[in-house]
Amino acid sequence: MTGRRAVLAAAAVGAAVVAAAVPSLGLPQYYISLLTQTWIFGIAAMSLDLLVGFTGLVSFAQAAFFGTSAYMIAVLATQYHLVAFWPALGIALGTTAALAALFGLLALRGEGVTFIIITLALNEIVWGLAYQWVSVSGGDNGIAGFVRPPVFGLDLSGTAAFYRFTLAALLVCLALLAAIVRSPFGLVLRGVRDRPRRMAALGYAVQAFRYAAFVIAAVFTGVAGVLFAYYNEFVGPVNLSLDTAVQILIMVILGGVGTLLGPLAGAAVVVFVSNALSNLTQRWELILGAIYVAILLFARGGLVGIGHRVARVLGAATRGAGPAARPVMSPPPGGRGEP
């Protein structure tokens, strides 16, 4: 067990080192940009996974939080001349948390499907505000005219520097989210996901835990939004549109619900497919939609689930297909566990 953990840790460190070295490998800037986007959306997708995979709440309001903190960065810089990174980050995340605190109160009054519908409606409120409140948001034109500030004295204006910065942010967020998921609080969330009624009977304030998860996820998504604003040095209504919300959700489902790393992989797929395919064909949305539906129908575990299956088959092949090859405790395939 500890041996396996050491291998995993080594693999993780190795992957991080390789990822950090990417800009020095002579890749075209284009790919470095795509990877930067992957890290940014990876943070958003992982935070949504905290809701979908660990708490059992499917939220379409994630784009509202993503976009709100992005807009805050732009508005602070262009209208209040507040450009320093840490104060701007603090205000942006604070605003996002406050918004989530309000939205959570409303959305959590609905259970299940109603919750989903309400989050979608709430997301549209924010989008509508950004779209129509031209004097603040610039309307359809969005807000440009701000640049990446230095952080810790590091100049982030270059592609490579900003890439490494987003990677560091991703790793910090991943570490924090992984810690949350593995904590007693994280266990409570999974209990709430599985059987809210049982959890209430045990003495858990189910709604309070959902609420906390909702706000925490919003703040992490806010981090992604801040990064995205700096990445583009521009914000527009698309940042908080339903399209963005849907995209983040698709990343989670493609990657594998309840796995944290899966949604990161899902983010990579969506970012690369939508950019690479859009060079080849105009119908990339159709293709992405088809992949998404196929995953829903045939591979509920997403990419991570497919990976596990491949690993199991390979493991069985190398060890010889003896009875030991199939672990007794492995869950039955395709089990969903929800009534």
Binding site: L176, A179, I180, R182, S183, P184, F185, G186, L187, V188, R190, G191, R193, D194, R195, R197, R198, M199, A200, A201, L202, G203, Y204, A205, V206, M329, P331, G335, G337
Partner: protein, 250 residues
């Protein structure tokens, strides 16, 4: 210490639309008592439980636990005051392991439940406590299994263990042996006998023999009303009860 009943149901009425599920039901259970509640299907037994546990709101009347009026409290607040329950159809977290389910029960009423950055693995004491509980019922070998992999009887054992683990002031058991094979039912009965000696228990049961065996007093519900109350012997001899069970219900 309070004098008077430990759990009291006062003149409880529950209506669903025009249907009266419970009609002025009053019940007083003494501390340490084991009370059985019987009645044919649709008598309102489970509704009574859900109302005591706080899942169903009463239309009139109230519930008092240890002298405190809990009528308006939500289920989780009642649980934190010492009310534990099992469900008629096993209600466990199916994707979590047996151990995790038990840990959730132990952590529910402790501050550790809000701890959100320290890995669960650090809380050795919690884990050992849960394993010890599982050991008492011979399920420690299953600790790492996802609950849904367990058999019916084992799941029911875990279900009861979750309630017992909290050392509740009142334990509500909703048909603990329903749907179990004879062998599993015996296991559950033995478990209840052994590990709940000083708990105050209210037990719903369909199986009369089982109830007569386990409880000290019995309340009989019929169409949402209490029609009889007494010791098992009194109930066995009660005219109306015999009628309900032998005549009316069939």
């Amino acid at each position: 210490m309070t004098t008077g009943p430990w759990l009291e149901v006062r003149d409880l009425t529950v209506r669903f639309g025009s249907l009266v599920a419970l009609d002025h039901v009053s019940l007083a259970v003494a501390r340490g008592e084991r009370r059985g509640i019987i009645g044919p299907n649709g008598a309102g037994k489970t509704t009574l439980f859900n109302t005591i546990a706080g899942e169903v709101a009463s239309s009139a009347g109230g519930v008092v636990l240890a002298g405190r009026d809990i009528t308006r409290l939500p289920p989780h607040r009642r649980a934190s005051l010492g009310m534990a329950r099992t469900f008629q159809t096993t209600m466990l977290c199916p994707r979590l392991t047996v151990l995790e389910n038990v840990i959730l029960s132990l952590a529910a009423l402790r501050p550790v439940r809000r701890q959100f950055l320290v890995p669960l693995g650090r809380y050795r004491g919690l884990r050992d406590e849960a394993l010890a509980l599982l050991g008492q019922v011979g399920l420690d070998g299953r600790a790492a299994w996802p609950v849904r992999m367990l058999g019916h009887g084992e799941q029911r054992q875990v279900e009861i263990l979750l309630a017992l683990a909290q050392r509740p002031a009142v334990l509500l058991l909703d048909e603990p042996t329903a749907g179990l094979a004879a062998q599993d039912a015996a296991l559950v009965t033995a478990m209840l006998r052994e590990h709940s000696r000083d708990a105050t228990i209210v037990l719903i049961e369909h199986d009369m023999e089982f109830v007569f065996d386990v409880v000290e007093r019995i309340t009989v519900l019929h169409y949402g009303r209490i029609v009889a109350e007494g010791t098992p012997e009194e109930i066995r001899a009660h005219e109306t009860v015999r009628e309900i069970y032998l005549g009316g219900a069939l």
